[in-house]
Symmetry: C2
Subunit: 384 residues, 2 copies
């Protein structure tokens, strides 16, 4: 096990009816900006529940944070915060809205050009307090300090992180999943699965608790993921998927173990250039990354094959091949394509994405920094 420091200070309120806890979770004297996305919360009852809970608060709203939240849209919210003196941000949405709100919370108090937080890694010295009502389990952003923001003008998709933007609380009510489109549900399951894999499928450091926890999340997502679609889904299936997605990226399973994140870095570029959903890119890249890194990841691939997939590993090479095939089959089981051609893309992608990786300094990815640009190109070519 590697040395680590870990804390997660986000207060979780989990379960049916928990949106009402907003009333006491946000200070009574706060001036709250409620930030959301395309307006689905007005159709599924979430907006109404939030309004009711904030009945005695002073609040306004900003709508229109898009998937892959853009710097440009976020800066409109920042202007509104500054002009109207909001001092608390409430994100009501999925990972995109939450990531956007993290940037809004930091940018509103930033002294200088806020793009520098992303483009130059400028230090965030303060941020407005942030709370979350999660409407789409997927990214884990509701209880971590990471955010990824896109620049529509430059095709950049860049991360920043600071504990100052970690949500103070997050409301997780599985009932909000009832009205989610199938595509978003599939995105969530795949995103949570790949988050777990990025922290698990590296090399062994004999961190038994972390390994068992990661395997528990993978097993749960594989068991519940394919059943999460439709109106007749049980509350428990939704609850298990939602809690898995939060636990997959709240820092716990990654504490004390090596991490990869190469799949994410390549995936981010695919989204930035071709507009694919984040999870769609992960489902394409992960199986190819597993193939490309078969040797350095050998021990963990076998552990995954055995403990998560229940495969016979007496022929290790065959087991690894099966494990990769079963991972891809799992993505298919939640109706998630795993090839570039499924989106009308071909070999031309490789050079374009490699150029993007190079431009962003992503020339050595993975837990050993051994995924060179050449290997990334191979991964992309094999992804066609």
């Amino acid at each position: 096990m590697l040395n680590f420091s870990f804390v997660n200070p986000t207060q979780i309120h989990f379960g049916e009816g928990q949106i009402s806890s907003l009333t006491s979770s946000i200070p009574q004297d706060a001036k709250v900006l409620v930030v959301y996305g395309g307006g689905s919360i007005k159709k599924n009852g979430v907006y109404e529940q939030v309004s009711n809970a904030l009945n005695a608060h002073t609040w306004g709203e900003f709508a229109g944070i898009e998937p892959n939240p853009s710097y440009q849209t976020c800066m409109q919210a920042v202007a509104m915060v500054r002009e109207q003196g909001y001092d608390y941000i409430l994100a009501v949405g999925g990972g995109s809205v939450i990531d956007g709100c993290k940037f809004i919370a930091a940018a509103a108090l930033f002294d200088g050009e806020p793009w520098d937080i992303l483009g130059k890694g400028a230090e965030v010295k303060s941020a407005l307090p942030l709370g979350v009502v999660l409407t789409l389990p997927a990214t884990g952003s509701e209880s971590n300090s990471f955010s990824v923001i896109s620049n529509k003008d430059t095709n950049d998709k860049l991360p920043f992180a600071t504990t100052l933007v970690q949500p103070q609380f997050a409301v997780l009510d599985p009932d909000v999943m009832k009205t989610l489109p199938e595509r978003q549900l599939a995105n969530g399951v795949v995103d949570a699965f790949v988050h777990t894999m990025e922290q698990y499928l590296t090399y062994p450091v004999n961190a038994k608790v972390q390994d068992r926890f990661a395997e528990g999340l993978l097993l749960t997502l594989m068991e519940e993921g394919p059943s999460v679609f439709g109106q007749d889904v049980s509350y428990e299936v939704r609850a298990n998927v939602m809690w898995s997605a939060t636990m997959a990226l709240n820092g716990l399973i990654g504490a004390g173990v090596p991490q990869d994140w190469g799949t994410h870095m390549i995936g981010h570029e695919l989204t930035a250039v071709y507009g694919l959903d984040h999870a769609q890119t992960l489902a394409i890249v992960l199986p190819r990354m597993m193939e490309e890194q078969k040797e350095p990841k050998r021990d963990k691939l076998l552990q995954y094959a055995q403990r998560v997939l229940g495969l016979d590993t007496s022929d290790p090479d065959a087991a690894i091949e099966q494990a990769i095939a079963k991972t891809e089959a799992f993505f298919h089981s939640v109706n998630m394509p795993t090839r570039l051609r499924d989106y009308g893309l071909g070999e031309e992608v490789a050079d374009k994405i490699v150029a993007q990786l190079e431009r962003h300094g992503m020339t050595a990815l993975g837990e050993h920094q051994s995924v060179t640009l050449d290997k990334s190109r191979n991964i992309l070519l094999r992804s066609v």
Copy 2:
């Protein structure tokens, strides 16, 4: 899954050499009272590491917190805090020292008779900040808000809990386990195991993540526990046991699931009356509790048999019997007796402990409140 609220704000610093992080974890201007137990920390290098880390701080010390920390001893420390104006408590020890320090932190600022916090459940309105250097992995007290204090005059052993006494940080350096006596190591493994069981072995609520996490801890403790003794133990074995013990009682695996704690309630009385170590009492009571509650716990006993012990459950009754036998065998594998007679005690225990339970209002224990005093008597009689 049941609704829940969960947060754990204790900052964990895990790994070799982490005691040095005290320097920056405690405010520079704090006046720190370092509280410890019998002085073993002066022989194993921990005291020296703490002293070095606090080189630039103002600090004093209070030694002598005993196993099953007593109200009487804690009140001596409270007097010292009040007289000398300490404003930060640093617990250096295992669960007893930490539990004692939680009470000291609360009692020092309590307006009235501090025993009322325990005896009458009086509300704690403030407490001194508390940090921890853990020297014995076992109770999980280093990152939770619970404390159990004994009254030497009255044979009471009573709990209190408030987030005000949750440690701000906890340093977990597995190297401190090198010099622990075998009895304390065994106590730690058993304590962590039974903490997990109290939150796992109840009835199913389809909380898949919580179940998998609990099973991961049980598996890890069963794999690593028997190897934790002696000088030649690898760092990883110690680290896995230490992290398991913290995760077993930091609130995570118990969030959203029913909990039992009947074994603990009976065990506390055994310690209060006969002076057995806490874990010794748990190893006696748990197997008997499993037998007594075989029917209400049936589904979870079978899940435990299958997933943790790898047993064939095609004959469910036989599998449950084997599961109980294997649990007891695991305790023996860490040199932990499982019978009252191993401590020279017999049937006379039953009436005495039942009277204690009655006196403390523990007349209906367990996840269904179905363990009546008669059932507790059965459990004790079978424990001989």
